[in-house]
Amino acid sequence: MEEVLKSRSGDAVKKQKVKNIIIMLLPIAALVVLFAVYVAIILANDYNLAINLETIVNQAIVLVLVATGAIFIFTLGSFDISLGASTLFSATVGILVFNATGSLLLLFLTCIAVAVACSLLNSVLSSVFHLPMFVMTVAMLSVLTSIAGTIITTNSTSAGANPAISVSDSVLRDILGSVDTVWFKVLILALFAVVCIFVFNFTKVGRRQKFLGGNPVCAKMTGIPLSVYGIIAFVMAGIGVGLGAAVNVTYTMSVSTGTASDIGMSVFIAIVFGGMPISGGARSRIYAAIVGGFSYIILNNILNLLLSSVDGRYGYVQIISAVLFLAIVYVASINYRVKHLPR
């Protein structure tokens, strides 16, 4: 109905472009500001900056890895709620294999293979039986958590309340410890991000993913069926999950029933925080996961520092971080307001 729209002057177009760029940069700006505030607090308190930065990387890395892979799913306008459960499950199998073989390579390969298999099961089942992807992942969440829970319980070595499988052999612990470094983690993330960015922006597959997210019907009519590219997206997400699971194992040297329990939902937060629309499509970006994941973790750390002496602070931290999250998403979406309520 908004018939034809004629461009006013080049000037207006330029202004619009500048505005778009500002909005696009907002998530990055938010990350920079949050980082600056964090560093300021650390320095002002005479805390150890190096340790704190390492902490941030350690806390964020699994989330960011999983979220980076998950971008492929989100790009399609779909989402997977079982990512956390899948991380838990692949870490469980991974640690069993590692305990048996002591091979780091096998740990990573197993985690990736298992995670990709879970992803494939999700996507293939839903495409063969035409099931809504999301509900399939809800079912998968239960199944994976339960199976992993059973495996962990049966093989538990823990003395604590939560059953857990740990790497207890000191030689094996040393092997894991050797890669439990910030540099290794950053390297893994960088490699994976580069691969994802390459696939996403420089290959036919990536272009088609984005196109699919924008309009699946048109994509189908252009010979890009959701069933096929959905599977590819889930495979990419599986790789991210596998890497996250393996890195988690090197970090904690154990897997318990609570491992990665909040990753599934945090991925949503991270991706949206990073400036990507939940509906996917043309505005999807790989860096959203990285920017958003780190922003979210840093924000929580800042709030924890600021409120350290407040009673019930974890409640307040969560409230404030949720409010800031909504505020940033609100501002970032300002260009895309529509007359009716979004769904």
Partner: protein, 361 residues
């Protein structure tokens, strides 16, 4: 959600009754077969029956709440957090007033419904003001409600506040949760199927743009939906508190999310039943079926042949199976009637014929 064309064509009363009762009947039959095979019985005492009704109320009301916004394409992750928050706040409020004395139960129920409604209004209000996709606002809202719950309790269990004779009645007298179910059913049926609000809701759900252009006001309609969801979840929170005799309040980091997942299976079953009668009745029948299943799980758990993880797997598999049925109904029907083999044979014959004709050329 229900397929209107089918509904229109299914005038036959017999078919409608059969369609309505098929799934619940299947549940009953299968459950009793399993009972017989394992030598257990369900619903053997009045208190167990009361527990059955109470759990059915929890599932049914959650399903109502889930279906309201999900049906309109609005994803709401905050359902569980609304239930916990309203239960905790109303428990504390009621206890501070009555100290667990007479009437505590009903007062807490009223408070819980009201607080739930306010929470829903907050959630819906935030959505219409921010105008960002509801799935995102609901993530934020869930975190906020969980945070508030934590601040109210510091994460500790709510126990003595909800352990009193008055609350006990809701768990031990089956008619109380039954009344709650009936009132809720009547309310959602009236609101969504009989009022202007309900008609507008349906119109917005099926054709958002056209409805708005015609002059239906979407914002109040959406906010009211959230308010109703909140009130329902407030009731669920209360019933859970009554049934469990305590409230676990340590729900930070999306600990409250899982509540909504339990409602997916009954929602799909209810939607299916709704094609033959009414979706709300469908949700109730599905809720009762799920509760009967729960009773069975309890008995099987006591004799040690099922535990919580195998239960979760069974429920997930049921969900997937039912979805496969829903999305491949024709194939399933063909499979049952054996027509599928005929079809395969036909297709094979055709392929052969086509091949021959090509070869002839």
């Amino acid at each position: 959600m229900g397929n209107l064309i089918n509904k229109h064509q299914l005038k036959n009363f017999g078919v409608r009754t059969a369609g309505t009762l098929a799934v619940p009947a299947l549940f009953v039959v299968v459950i009793f077969i399993i009972c017989a095979a394992q030598g257990v019985m369900v619903l053997t005492s009045s208190s167990l029956f009361a527990d059955f009704v109470c759990y059915a109320a929890i599932v049914t009301l959650t399903t109502f709440a889930l279906s309201i916004n999900l049906g309109s394409g609005r994803f709401d992750f905050s359902l569980g957090s609304m239930a916990t928050l309203s239960a905790v706040a109303s428990a504390q409020l009621t206890y501070s007033m009555l100290g667990g004395g007479a009437g505590s139960g009903i007062v807490m129920l009223v408070f819980s419904v009201l607080i739930g409604a306010v929470a829903g209004a907050f959630s819906g209000g935030l959505y219409v003001i921010l105008r960002i996709p509801p799935i995102i606002t609901s993530l934020g809202v869930a975190l906020i409600f969980e945070g508030i719950t934590f601040v109210l309790t510091n994460g500790t269990y709510i126990m003595s506040e909800v352990q009193n004779d008055s609350m006990t009645l809701f768990r031990t007298q089956w008619y109380l949760p039954a009344v709650i179910i009936l009132v809720a059913l009547a309310a959602v049926y009236f609101l969504f199927d009989r009022t202007k609000f309900g008609y507008d809701y349906k119109a917005l759900k099926e054709g958002q743009k056209v409805s708005i252009n015609t002059g239906i006001r979407e914002v109040p309609n959406a906010v009211w939906c959230y308010v109703i969801c909140g009130a329902l979840m407030g009731t669920v929170g209360f019933l859970q508190a009554a049934r469990n005799t305590y409230i676990s309040t340590n729900v930070l980091n999306f600990g409250s999310i899982s509540v909504m997942f339990t409602a997916f299976l009954p929602m799909f079953i209810g939607g299916f039943i709704g094609r033959f009668s009414n979706d709300k009745v469908g949700y109730l029948l599905a809720g009762l079926s799920m509760s009967l299943l729960n009773s069975l799980f309890a008995q099987l758990s006591l004799i040690g042949i099922i535990d919580s993880s195998s239960r979760a797997i069974v429920e997930a598999v049921l969900l997937v199976l039912f979805l496969i049925f829903l999305n491949n109904e024709q194939t399933c029907r063909d499979l049952v009637t054996g027509r599928i083999f005929k079809k395969w044979a036909e297709a094979a014959r055709e392929r052969k014929a086509a091949k021959h004709s090509r070869e002839d050329k």
